[in-house]
Symmetry: C2
Subunit: 480 residues, 2 copies
Amino acid sequence: MNTSEFRRRGKEMVDYVANYMEGIEGRQVYPDVEPGYLRPLIPDSAPQEPDTFEDIINDIEKIIMPGVTHWHSPYFFAYFPTASSYPAMLADMLCGAIGCIGFSWAASPACTELETVMMDWLGKMLELPKAFLTEKAGEGGGVIQGSASEATLVALLAARTKVIHRLQAASPELTQAAIMEKLVAYSSDQAHSSVERAGLIGGVKLKAIPSDGNFAMRASALQEALERDRAAGLIPFFVSSAALVAPGNKEDMWLHVDAAYAGSAFICPEFRHLLNGVEFADSFNFNPHKWLLVNFDCSAMWVKKRSDLTGAFRLDPTYLKHSHQDSGKKPAFNIFLTDGPFHVSFQHWQIPLGRRFRSLKMWFVFRMYGVKGLQAYIRKHVQLSHEFESLVLQDPRFEICAKVTLGLVCFRLKGSNKVNEALLQRINSARKIHLVPCHLRDKFVLRFAICSRTVESAHVQRAWEHIKELAADVLRAEKE
Amino acid sequence: MNTSEFRRRGKEMVDYVANYMEGIEGRQVYPDVEPGYLRPLIPDSAPQEPDTFEDIINDIEKIIMPGVTHWHSPYFFAYFPTASSYPAMLADMLCGAIGCIGFSWAASPACTELETVMMDWLGKMLELPKAFLTEKAGEGGGVIQGSASEATLVALLAARTKVIHRLQAASPELTQAAIMEKLVAYSSDQAHSSVERAGLIGGVKLKAIPSDGNFAMRASALQEALERDRAAGLIPFFVSSAALVAPGNKEDMWLHVDAAYAGSAFICPEFRHLLNGVEFADSFNFNPHKWLLVNFDCSAMWVKKRSDLTGAFRLDPTYLKHSHQDSGKKPAFNIFLTDGPFHVSFQHWQIPLGRRFRSLKMWFVFRMYGVKGLQAYIRKHVQLSHEFESLVLQDPRFEICAKVTLGLVCFRLKGSNKVNEALLQRINSARKIHLVPCHLRDKFVLRFAICSRTVESAHVQRAWEHIKELAADVLRAEKE
């Protein structure tokens, strides 16, 4: 495909995308296909000779779309929102064209520098403490990770390196393995599985701390666990929490705050209090790719001391420190070490080496919405979830299962888990709306998450009418 | 921005991208900016009210482009190639619009299923042993990772889990830490730093094995290291290698073959022999996002036993196995566990939870180029590197430093490291072409990598004339 064909096909694709977005409400939100549906529809190996673009664009509707779960349908209320906006899509087109791999400053200075500034912009929108920003040449800074899972893992590894260095400095005879055997990380018993996975990868114990009535980690329970574990000769070193706990008891522990979904709301002054205490954290992370209109992937992470991250990943700090003065012995494969004197080289802040020019998406979105536009977007979603909550509360057959703060409503039929499972099954089989469940303690609960950029009150009302009808069916069937 | 404005702006962006690509040869390949150039050019916080699209598109040329290293310029010969093609860009537009997060089959069946089939297509192009494919419902399979670093880490973690389980099954009293303390992984002393980083993250020792005259791991040296380490009570468990070594000595070791750059060439029968012996590997990885025209990120990884990967990452295998029969006790946060009975749930194959619909890029590229078109692309690059090699060989002042097999030429002035460093500095200061160096043993070497999709013989010839001129300057300056 040459450039003039790309001009033509690119514009056709823009129209395809626009048509898809305009018509998404008319598509069935969850697909009908059975596992294995796709393989028989396409050849079993790649063609030797090129297919035409017409062949491919026709196959999208024939082969791909029948198997798509439409995350941006206004009838999609499952999981969490995932961001989708036109400015982000435009930025992604530019990102693909520039196609730089920004592992170092020299690999594309604009890629590193715009990211640094955008993370400051975003940090200021959240009123993060200045210690997390780069602009005043302090010790902190922000970086775009691919996912909250990676941010949690990076934080845990940085904490692990730090505690090992500290203990070995005091007792040089201690081996890394001897220390690791005693390390303990903590998270809430309601935490996302990514924390458990980070512990697994990092080779350290992870303990779940009981949560309170609002499903947040109980500070007193954490304190008890710390005391019990220290008394048993273990070494607590890391806490991952969605909210701030026990800042007075840090004692050389790394505190990571993960607000993957909720973080976007903190740009609104009325929700900022949920982040109070972040000044005690060593690292903070949330996902603009969830609720801030920056298409996946864009997980924003800040640390107070960026040397904690680079210390965990930089393989030969001594060499690198001198790479511009010293022409002596160098590692064999040093093609990535051609950094200028600029202090930020994001390869040392993350798991992969390569990275795309993701800050372009933030730049386009922040500028084309403006802070006020983004705040209005968050507020609209929160308002819609309260609208759904009040509909649920008006129906005595139903109950709300957790306080509604942002865009998520956890609700259920008063009654057994079985009847709620039956209700969910009817909802997802009907395929008019899409929900997924969760368990809160022993209760099977339906989650109604405000997700789509285009969801309006009318969709919420229709969804509720539909749920009520199916609930009546389920309750009738139960009686029979 | 509403849909009708997106139609208009999207088409403008298509033209911007097309113009950028058409005019890239005229842009200076490496930027003039100094570290910190960007921050003063933009406001220090996000605007409250929206900016217009015109403002943003104008700022691209004013603020971004002056700081871009143009990886797709035909005068870019640095690092390794990174893929850029129009079909991949079109697919990325569609990927952004669908915007699904394909962690499970149910999260978007087409996303999981197309990936499975595309990894089979690609595996067949490489003539991978059938054990690595999914199509015959065997135990193997392929997955798209974000980078070779992640593939290496995933392989190492799977190997670590496997050896720990095996040893604990034999000796239940062994703790994980007691085993990890003795684990040793091996790679070539010429290996990419990602292997060292995987060892660091995984908390295991990594030993570098001396390489031979072609900079490949010496099998005899590996064998000696294994024997020495076993005699010392250590537990060798993992080898990462760019080529196949010592298959006869596997003895419960995991063999990971990383052909990040070279792998794309194996679709040509004349280069396939470089992959001989892959049948002994447990995992194999290469990056279509380097040299196979599938834009970053797309790192292709296959394993012989996919249960080895899912065993390392799946957090509660017992629960998940029964998730469709059992309505009993479930973990609190189970919204991601809504898988159908389909056997592939890629969240258990990788570090992050979320993932984009990256197989669309493979599908578009494989179909629009056809296997023959992709082979022709690889062959053209290899031919250009041999053309450059022969130019170097015609000049008695220069030498070739490693056998030229694919698209990379390592060369230098006969003489000191200092004179070669001076040459490289002149080249990159002139900014007409862009190269980076490496060290081969103690020698400072210039790397000339054929990178751009649009590079032609004329660009290579011009680059060589330019290098010769600067070399003459350097040699003259040295004499003075």
